[in-house]
Every structure is written in C-alpha cells, then in structure tokens.
C-alpha cells in the first residue's frame, strides 16, 4: 500500500554527486550518501545509502485565508559546499527553508565538572584539572534549520534556484519571482511580477525558473503558454521586460481543445555549459540555444502516442502532470520521465533514444535495464507495451542525473531507483 505522504516529490544531487536528496509529500527530506569506492572492487562505484532523514515542512493553516498549506516538498536545491557542512534549500508551497547538514564524529570527553553522563560531579572528588579531549564517536548527522524564508509568496512556489554568486537565490510562484539573500529572511526583492492589474485578464502563469549556471545576472523563467523568458537583472530592478523571449509558433495542424495545456512548460533547465536550455512540456522535450529565440534547436517526442488520447488524459487529470527533465554531466544526453514507470533518454549526438522502465524486476543489483517499447498500433513486437495498457498511475515526474557520472536517480511514486552505468562511465 502506498501512503500518499511517501510519494517522492523532488530529487536532487548536490554539486559533487556525493549526496542525493529527496523530498516527499509528507514534508520529509531523505538524504542519501554515496559510499566511497571499495578498495576490494576498485571499479565498482559506491552505492547510495541513507545519510539523514528529517522533517522539513509541516502542514500549516493560513487562518486569514482559511487555506491549508501543504507540507509537500516542491523543490530541493543544494548550495555549493563551502565548508565541512552541507546546506540545502527546501520549499513547500509557501515557505523556503535553509538546512544545515553536518557530521559529528567526535565528542569531547574528560570534563572537569561533569561526568560522562552529563551529571554534575561531586566537587569534593575533583582533585586535579584535566583538559577535555576529543574522542571519536559513532558518526552522527545533524540537521538544523538555519533560515526560514516565510511570507514571501502569495501563490504557490514552484521553483527555487541558487545563484552562482552563492549569496542569493530566487523563488518563483505562479505570478512572481523573488530574490532572496541567503542570510536575510525578513525581506526579499521582487524581480518578476506578471500579475495583471485585473486578474480576469490573466492568461499565463510562471511554471519554472532557474538562474544561469555561470552568469549571476541572468535567469530564465518558463510560462504556461510555452514561452521562455531570459532576464538580465542588470537591466532593471523589476525584470518584467525580458532580455530574450524564446517561443515557437504553434503548429496549426495540432490544434485541439488541449493545445494550450500541452504547450505549458513544466520544467526548464540550463545546460551545464550555460549555452542551452532544456524544456519539457506534456508531449515533448526541447533544447533551445540561448542565441536563437524563434524555435528550439532540437525537439524530442517523449510519448507522442498520447496525442490522440488527450481527452481521456484531461478527464483523469494526467494531462496536468508536470514532468521534469535533466541533462547529463556533459550535456550530451537528456532524460525525462513518462508513464508506466518509463523514462526516456535522448542522445543529442547520435539522435538515438531509449525507453527504460523503473520497476522492481528491472532493479535487481547488477541487472541490466532492458529497453522498452510502446506500441501505438501497427505491428506489435514481443514485449512491446500497447498504449492502452499503460499504467497512468505510475508516472515518473522527477529524475536527476549525477553531475559528472552516469548515475541517475528516478523517483517512481514512493520508490527511488538509482541506476549506474558502469560500462560507459568513461565515455562521457
């Protein structure tokens, strides 16, 4: 039985790939750490084991608006590591929190006034002074909330992104984007506001936002209309005017009742190089070149066989699913999830793509993932899955790719799958 509170809602590697954080609908964060390579098997990369678990957000109630605030973790972002501790930002619909994750593997022993259990010593027994010394102890991971950035958003927060300056970060909700300083919780700067004066004129909302990986003044945000806006914070305090607008004209042949829904961008990611943007809408994933605004340079069909089923998917709400997308470390392969616990990878160079499944059967240790195929009619091969037998309750919305190696983390409802590609890890 799957508890809805266990459903994983976000997955994120840190900058080195040593740590992997997941957030779930119940407001919990689980951090996995990669074990160091074993000396016995030098070519066997380490596995990920649970490092720490903590409750990040709790359900809240806004009494003024009679509104319940879900504790579901929408996004986690790691800060670049600057000392021994690790820091991450986690957010629910309204509040962003900065968490410090630190290790304690030593403790002082030999206090003069306290005994080992912490009780005060009888002073008459103290005859000499000693200097406490640090002794090793079992590793303990401590997590503490260092900052709570509250009351910055009226609408639901969908994205957070840490700036390359490592001092600021932004948070985006449906209509506004705020810039925060990591050390200041009582104020933020509003840098994008698309709320119309008359809400009845609302036509689009912000769906995702991200800072450029290298240029601390640039960020991009996507909209429900399928457009991307690149903004330069140097231009003005309020970045309502975009520096660049990336938009592809709609194909009139594909017009349907649901054209607007399926063109809504659910995720946007800068490439590691900072040169490209990766976007995901309901049926496709696209690569955009920052230097070309009128159309993407690559479009990949994730599950075009669903195009004829949009009405059913609208009825069962699947059409509103927000799939994420990911780059591999070298920006040569992109990955995104689909239904039936399938996820897809597209090699931008060879133009080959593969469909894989995250399931218990395919996840036995050392098992090789077998490519899957969805048959949309026509000749059906053995092991093909027909479109009608796809399980739409098994959706892979959240995926992450290790920043350097071919290790991927796939969230399938309440299960986390971590796949490593040992054979090709040297090739990329």
């Amino acid at each position: 039985m799957t508890l809805s509170s266990d459903i994983i809602s976000t997955v994120e590697f840190n900058q080195t790939g040593e740590l992997l954080a997941t957030g779930d609908k119940g407001g919990r964060v689980v951090i996995f750490q990669r074990e160091p390579e074993s000396k016995n098997e030098p070519y066997c990369q380490g596995e990920y084991n649970v490092y720490s678990t903590f409750q990040s957000h709790e359900p809240e109630f806004d009494y003024l608006k009679s509104l319940e605030i879900e504790e579901k973790i929408n996004k986690i972002r790691w800060l670049p590591q600057q000392n021994a501790a690790h820091f991450l930002l986690s957010t629910n619909d309204k509040t962003i929190k900065l968490w410090k994750v630190s290790e304690r593997d030593k403790r002082p022993e030999g206090y003069n006034l306290k005994d080992e259990e912490g009780r005060m010593k009888d002073l008459s027994t103290v005859t000499s002074l000693q200097v406490p010394v640090l002794k090793p102890m079992d590793l303990m991971v401590e997590v503490s909330a260092r900052r709570i950035f509250a009351n910055g958003h009226t609408y639901h927060v969908n994205s957070i992104s840490v700036n390359s300056d490592c001092e600021t970060y932004m948070s985006a909700d449906d209509l506004r984007i705020n810039l925060w300083h990591l050390g200041i919780t009582d104020r933020s700067f509003n840098i994008v506001d698309i709320k119309p004066a008359n809400m009845e004129e609302l036509t689009e909302v912000i769906t995702a936002a991200e800072f450029h990986p290298h240029h601390c003044n640039l960020f991009v945000y996507s909209s429900s209309k399928g457009s991307l806006r690149l903004c330069d914070m140097r231009a003005s305090a309020l970045c309502d005017k975009h520096a660049k607008l990336f938009e592809e004209p709609e194909d009139p042949n594909n017009r349907s009742f649901f054209s607007e829904i399926i063109s809504s961008i659910s995720d946007v990611k800068f490439s590691h190089s900072g040169r490209y943007l990766l976007t995901r809408d309901y049926l496709t994933t696209k690569v955009w070149d920052l230097n070309m605004e009128n159309k993407p340079i690559e479009t990949y069909q994730v599950h075009d066989y669903l195009r004829s089923k949009l009405c059913s998917l609208y009825e069962n709400d699947c059409i509103f699913d927000k799939f994420e997308c990911a780059w591999n470390g070298s920006d040569s392969v992109i990955m995104t999830g689909a239904y039936n616990n399938f996820f897809r990878m597209f090699d931008r160079n060879t133009k080959r793509d593969v469909t894989l499944e995250a399931s218990r059967e395919s996840s036995k240790p050392r098992a090789v993932l077998k490519p899957r195929r969805v048959c949309a009619g026509g000749k059906r091969r053995k092991d093909d899955i027909s479109v009608d037998s796809l399980d739409f309750t098994k959706k892979i919305l959240h995926t992450a790719w290790h920043p350097a190696e071919n290790i991927i983390a796939i969230a399938a409802t309440n299960n986390l799958y971590i796949f490593q590609d040992k054979v090709n890890s040297e090739m990329h």
């Binding site: 009845e200 909302v205 429900s224 009742f257 829904i261």
Partner: protein, 280 residues
C-alpha cells in the same frame, strides 16, 4: 454534431474540475485552473461556432435593438425545449431560465470567490464581475418572465460569462452580441459586492434563485454548486419539471453536464468562461 457533444462534455468536465479544485487540499491551484478555463473556453467556442450558424433563423427576434442573438435563440430554445416542464412551457421555461441563471451565477461566483479568497490580498469587489443574478430577477416581476422583451437596463456585463449565464433568459447576452450593458452589474448600482471581497461560502445553503439579489456573495457557496451538479446529474428534464423547485441551481450548466437543452440555452449567453474563472 459529434463535436458539439464532445465540446459539451469537455465543458462539463472542466466545470467539474473547477468545482472540485475548491475543496482540494492546499488551496486552489492557479495554474491548473487557468488551463482548465482555457479548455472550457475552447470547448465553448467550438460548441457555439455552429450554433449561431444554424440557429439564427431568428424568426422571433423581439426587439432587435435590445436583443442579442443569443437572447433570441435562447428564447427559441426555451420555447422549444421539450415540454418536460409541462403545460405552461413559457412559464416553466422562464422559471427554469431564471433558476439557471442565478445558480449559474452563484456557481461562478462561488468559484471565483473561493479562488479569490485563496489568492492573495482580498480583492476588491471591483475585481469581480458578478452578475447579480438576483438583481435581474428582481428586475423582472415574475409575471413578466415571458416578456422576453424586457431587458434590464444595464444588467449584465457583456463579456463576463457569469452575466451571460445569469441572464440566460432575459439578457441579450450572447457572447458575441454587443450587449448594451458591458459594464458590470455593479455599475448599475446594484452590486452587493462592493466591499465584500472574500466571503467564505456557506456550505449547504441553497438560496432560491429568484431572490438572490444583491447578496450574491453570501450565496456563492458550494452548496449551490453541488446542488447544481446533483440536479444536472439526473437530467436537465428533471430541472424543468421541478417548476418552482428550480431553486436547485441547475446552474453552471456545465457543472454536471447533462442536459443538452440546458446547455443550448445557457451557452449562447456565456461570455468567456475564462475571464470569470481567473478571478483568483
């Protein structure tokens, strides 16, 4: 005609989603509801695209000046609606229209109110375009129901779907029509909404359609909408037959979606749904 059925179905589903979004945990999701409202609008446009083409045989245009196509057609529809209502088709249809109008207004209003409530600062009533369903009711004496020529002076915001809905029976509110009153009902001085931004809907109360009057805000509650859905779940003819009982807001016609007749009556008068929905 299949596309009309399909469009109708999609509209019903959409309204159902909007209604359900009010009770979802975490508050109303602006993005999803915006998308749903866009679908609703598309479906409506498709549904109506052939409507005027075929239905404007307009033999019964009353006062051309004040009557929009929608109204005329609507009158036609009303009269031609299967006499489920019984003998007094005129009266019953009128009543049902009134009923439909107000409840629909209420439904819309409740959606918007809830949304707005959940959205940020309480919006001033000027953010709403509440067709005061009750107002128009009041404007018309019951006996005048059949007099389709009676058009409230400035009853309904032209481009607001609620208004369209609200004035299903009386207002010249075809969406395409250049209805004289393109300002909000409020501007007619009847808006009860002034200063009453976000009232929590009272569940369960189903105010009689005809008396909704100015206090629409108080009556925008889920009780109305759920009643709507219930009524339409059975069938539109059920609504027609219930003469006085149409307080059952069959409204938001689309809500439960049964009853082509209802839709045909209501839809021509619906202004862009999306504009109403987005009052979050």
């Amino acid at each position: 005609m299949e596309y009309k059925v399909e469009a109708h179905r999609i509209m019903s589903i959409s309204l159902g989603k909007i209604y359900n979004s009010r009770v979802q945990r975490g508050g109303i999701k602006l993005h999803k509801n915006l998308l749903v409202s866009l679908v609703l609008r598309s479906a409506r446009q498709v549904y109506l695209s052939d409507y005027y083409g075929g239905a404007c045989l307009g033999s019964q245009r009353a006062e051309a000046g004040e009557w929009a196509e929608g109204e005329t057609m609507e009158s036609l529809e009303g009269r031609s609606s299967p006499g489920a209502a019984g003998a007094d088709s005129c009266e019953s249809e009128t009543e049902s229209r009134e009923t439909l109008r107000a409840p629909e207004t209420n439904a819309q209003a409740s959606v918007e109110v809830a949304a707005e409530r959940n959205a940020e600062e309480p919006a001033s009533s000027s953010d709403y375009n509440w067709p005061q369903g009750g107002e128009t009711d009041e404007e018309r004496a019951p006996g005048q129901a059949e007099d389709s020529t009676q058009v409230p002076s400035c009853p309904v915001p032209e481009s607001r779907f609620e208004c369209g809905a609200a004035n299903a029976d009386e207002g010249p509110q075809s969406p395409a029509a250049a209805a004289p009153c393109c300002t909000r009902k409020r501007s007619a001085g009847k808006s009860p909404y002034a200063g009453s931004p976000v009232k929590r809907p009272r569940p369960g109360s189903v105010p009689p359609a005809n008396t909704e009057g100015g206090d629409a805000s108080e009556d925008m509650d889920t009780g109305n909408v759920s009643s709507l859905i219930t009524i339409f779940g059975s069938s539109f003819s059920g609504l027609l037959s219930k003469d006085g009982a149409q307080a059952e807001p069959g409204a938001a016609d689309g809500d439960s979606g049964s009853g082509t007749i209802c839709c045909e009556q209501m839809l021509p008068n619906l202004s862009p749904w999306s504009t109403a929905i987005v009052a979050f």
